[in-house]
């Protein structure tokens, strides 16, 4: 009965939302969004502060925001403050997981599965590759799809692999903590330096370079590496917390 009622309700609500959106003349139909009316138009044209004309990959330099990946430009430059908040959310929830699951962790969680030698060694080999990919993705966030968050997750995945493939493995949690702390603090410090030098928080104080080159976009690659390290260490921390328990 309860389930049926819930079904009816959710169906009803879904139908109402759909029809309401459908009848809403101001709401653009799927695929008919007019970007020209939106703020994102300026992000694509990079003409928030001044109009650089047509931006051409590999040629235009000195843009207000340098990444070739426009999403990165938004995430790490135009709306970098959101990203700081986002990092904080992840930070505080990782911290919360650590708080909730106890701090006196000594040993791995007992699981029935015992990996064999091949798996252990093989996964260690794979670990390096995944780690490197993660770092690569973080560093190239301003050029290609990806960036600090996927890169960081990938770094954490490599740790997860080690955890799963070896039931005795423990990472040095203390190291993660230091890394996390330094990366986070640096992010904020970069912001504050920007405030001191550039007059506003998180302003891009470095030269943005030529769009499309690896060493371009000013602080964005730095920020993304920091985010990558931070996210990686945080998620690794979370993994560690879930896979260990109190004991000898």
């Amino acid at each position: 009965m309860k389930n049926f009622l819930a079904l009816i309700l959710t169906l009803f609500l879904g139908f109402l939302i759909m029809s309401s959106l459908n009848n809403n003349i101001a709401f653009p139909k799927f695929g008919e969004a007019n970007i020209g009316d939106r703020v994102s138009d300026a992000y694509i044209d990079r003409d928030v502060t001044e109009n650089p004309g047509d931006v051409i990959f590999g040629e235009t330099d000195g843009l207000e925001s340098g990444p070739a990946n426009i999403v990165t430009a938004i995430v790490a430059d135009y709306r970098s403050f959101d990203t700081l908040g986002e990092v904080t959310v992840l930070f505080v929830s990782a911290l919360g997981v650590a708080l909730l699951l106890g701090t006196k962790k000594q040993k791995r969680l007992e699981i029935d599965f015992h990996p064999n030698f091949m798996l252990r060694v093989g996964s260690k080999a794979l670990f390096g590759v995944i780690l490197m990919t993660g770092i690569y993705i973080s560093i190239h966030g301003h050029l290609t799809p990806g960036g600090g968050f996927p890169g960081g997750s990938m770094i954490a995945t490599s740790m997860l692999l080690l955890y799963l493939a070896d039931d005795n493995f423990r990472a040095k949690v203390k190291g993660f903590k230091i890394l996390e702390s330094i990366a986070g603090s640096l992010y904020v410090l970069i912001g504050i330096i920007g405030l001191i030098i550039g007059g506003s928080f998180l302003v891009n104080i470095l030269d943005t370079g030529v769009i499309g080159e690896l060493f371009s976009a000013g602080i964005i690659p730095i920020v993304y590496v920091l985010i990558g390290l931070k996210v990686g260490s945080e998620i690794s921390n979370v993994i560690d917390n879930f896979l260990t328990e109190e004991g000898a």
Partner: protein
């Protein structure tokens, strides 16, 4: 510095409230002595300077706080501060009984501040602030007495009253554009006038303890500390009368006119409720065992007289009502103080547990006698004058149904006021109270002053009536014709002094006869027997228990109706609360989500339908 400016009086009083607290922390008795000094100071300042026209307003301190001396404010203030001053003499003798001694002194003074502020302002907001101030400072006095239970009830009823007042204030403001009292009352019109009339009546009823908001009165007066009861009955209750004058007399409700008696319907309804108040007060007073509660119900029924008189609203009615305010204030203060004096020694106010106190406390007995004679409206006391004027007005207006209530109350009061007299002071003396002495001098003194005043108001009412006439003229009615010794009503003229003289002679003759031909013999309580058996235990076969049993049986079934009503209101509120708790706070996350879904759905559905 002008010590007779209203701001100064209020400031000094407020400051000495704090001072009383601080001193009271060091020595409780000293703190309570401060209350005497302060209330004496206030009384003298108000009465002496006020009636010499020297009470002034020096500056306007705050935007919404303004003061004004009016005749009616002065009249009420003198009455109430006088009561406060008289009662304050009792404080040092009772202070040891309270749990928070220093606080008691402070709150006592704060109540006085609040009440003064109400009477001396021409601004509704100021009036309301002080009104509420009085409520909460007097509220915390109650639980220091016998029981803490009635405090909440008092607060609830008072708040109903004060919020009705507040709503009325805002209604008037919406038409007059300011919080000025005179403007507000003058400019409100149409349906809003009727609403204001009703709301102000509710406010007055709540404070006066009139039906159906009367329930707090007996409970609070039964529970509160003994001196405080006198303050409530003689002082704080009169706030209601003040508001009633404002609403019932100065406003003209617009409903429809009842042609036969030339009276507005809304007004008639209020008058009717007033007369019901009288009847219920009387009936309930008759069946009480606790002397304080009995007097409380009598206060209630006296409040009914004031309401009835004010609704009639012609000169003689208004001056009757105002005179009744004064007469009842001092009479009930005296009566409550007398009972407090007894209770201080015996620790009870139950009539069935007392008796024969006349042998120990003759002066207290006399004071009580005088007070109740006044309350019953018998010459030569003040209560007679006011009731006479009210009767005049009611009869002249030709309100048969209401007159029934008024006369019933008058007769009924004969039935009940003499019961405590007989039970407490007369009759057989209880052995355990044999060695009690008369109250100390400083308790007797205010009681004597009060009884002197009761007699004065009964014998020579003309000076005070002259002052009241000024108020009556202010209110726009015709003044009552008075000469030095006479008052002229609608169908005759009385000479209070003459009546009193004759009455005095009669009493004197009776007393002589009583002394000369005394035939009774004084016996102890144990000197009796029933059905041939001697009594061996000292239990009291008290004759004032179930005194009016046959009468009580007539309405026994109905007496708890109001209590039940309020209980059920309370239960309903709690039920609603439980309902909400049950459906919204169940410790299940899906409940909130469910409501979110429901509300979004309904609203969207509504939007799409419209």
């Amino acid at each position: 510095m002008n010590f007779a400016s209203i701001e100064m009086i209020l400031m000094i009083t407020l400051a000495s409230g704090v001072l009383a607290y601080l001193i009271g922390k060091l020595n409780a008795k000293l703190g309570s002595i401060v209350t005497i000094l302060v209330s004496m100071y206030v009384t003298i300042a108000v009465i002496y300077f006020g009636y010499n026209g020297e009470l002034v307003i020096t500056t306007e301190y705050l935007p919404l706080v303004t003061f004004k001396v009016t005749n009616i404010g002065l009249f009420f203030a003198s009455t109430v501060t006088f009561v406060f001053a008289m009662v304050s003499f009792f404080n040092p003798f009772f202070i040891d009984k309270y749990k928070f001694k220093a606080l008691y002194s402070m709150l006592y003074i704060f109540s006085l501040v609040g009440i003064l502020g109400v009477f001396f302002t021409d601004n509704f907001m100021t009036l309301f602030v002080f009104f509420e101030f009085t409520v909460w400072s007097s509220m915390f006095l109650i639980p220091m007495g016998k029981s803490t239970k009635s405090t909440t009830l008092y607060f609830a009823m008072s708040t109903i009253g004060s919020f009705a007042l507040l709503y009325a204030i805002f209604l008037m403001r919406s038409q007059s554009g300011s919080f000025d009292i005179d403007q507000g009352l003058a400019m409100v019109s149409g349906a809003k006038a009727t609403w204001t009339y009703i709301l102000l009546s509710v406010a007055a009823f709540a404070k006066l303890g009139a039906f159906p908001l009367h329930l707090w009165l007996p409970k609070v007066l039964g529970d509160a500390p003994d001196p405080v009861t006198a303050v409530f009955s003689g002082g704080l209750e009169k706030l209601g009368a003040f508001v009633a004058v404002m609403g019932l007399v100065r406003l003209a409700p617009v409903s429809f006119n009842i042609g036969a008696i030339d009276m507005d319907f809304a007004r008639y309804v209020i008058a009717f409720i007033g007369s019901i108040t009288i009847i219920i007060g009387t009936l309930m007073a008759i069946r009480q065992d606790d002397a304080k509660k009995l007097l409380a119900y009598s206060s209630m029924s006296n409040g009914g007289y004031i309401i009835v008189a004010l609704t009639i609203g012609n000169g003689i009615a208004i001056s009757g009502a105002l005179y009744h305010v004064l007469a009842h204030a001092i009479a009930s203060a005296a009566a409550f103080l007398a009972i407090a004096a007894v209770a201080r020694k015996t620790n009870t106010t139950k009539m069935s547990e007392l008796g024969g106190m006349i042998h120990n406390m003759p002066i207290t007995y006399m004071v009580y006698l005088i007070a109740i004679i006044s309350m019953a409206g018998i010459p030569p006391m003040g209560g007679f004058i006011s009731k006479w004027m009210i009767f005049q007005a009611v009869i002249n207006k030709g309100l048969p149904i209401i007159a029934i209530g008024v006369f019933f109350g008058s007769i009924g009061s004969f039935l009940y006021v003499f019961r405590p007299l007989a039970a407490l002071f007369l009759g057989q003396q209880l052995p355990e109270y044999k060695h009690l002495k008369e109250a100390p001098f400083f308790m007797v003194l205010p009681m004597i002053i009060l009884s002197g005043l009761i007699i004065y108001t009964g014998v020579l009412p003309n000076y005070i009536l002259g002052k009241i006439n000024e108020i009556v003229v202010d209110l726009g009615a015709t003044a009552v014709t008075i000469t030095e010794y006479t008052i002229t009503g609608f169908n005759g003229t009385i000479h209070p002094a003459l009546i009193s003289g004759m009455f005095g002679v009669g009493v004197f003759v009776a007393f002589l006869i009583f002394i000369t031909f005394k035939k009774s013999k004084k016996v102890t309580l144990m000197d009796t027997y029933t059905a041939g058996e001697f009594i061996y235990t000292e239990e009291l076969l008290h004759y004032s228990v179930d005194f009016y049993a046959p009468l009580e049986r007539l309405y026994e079934k109905y007496i708890h109706i109001m209590e039940k009503t309020y209980d059920s209101i309370r239960n309903k509120i709690a039920e609603v609360g439980h309902f909400f708790k049950y459906y919204f706070f169940t410790n299940k996350p899906e409940v909130s989500v469910f409501w979110i879904v429901i509300i979004v759905s309904l609203l969207l559905w509504g939007e799409s339908l419209w």
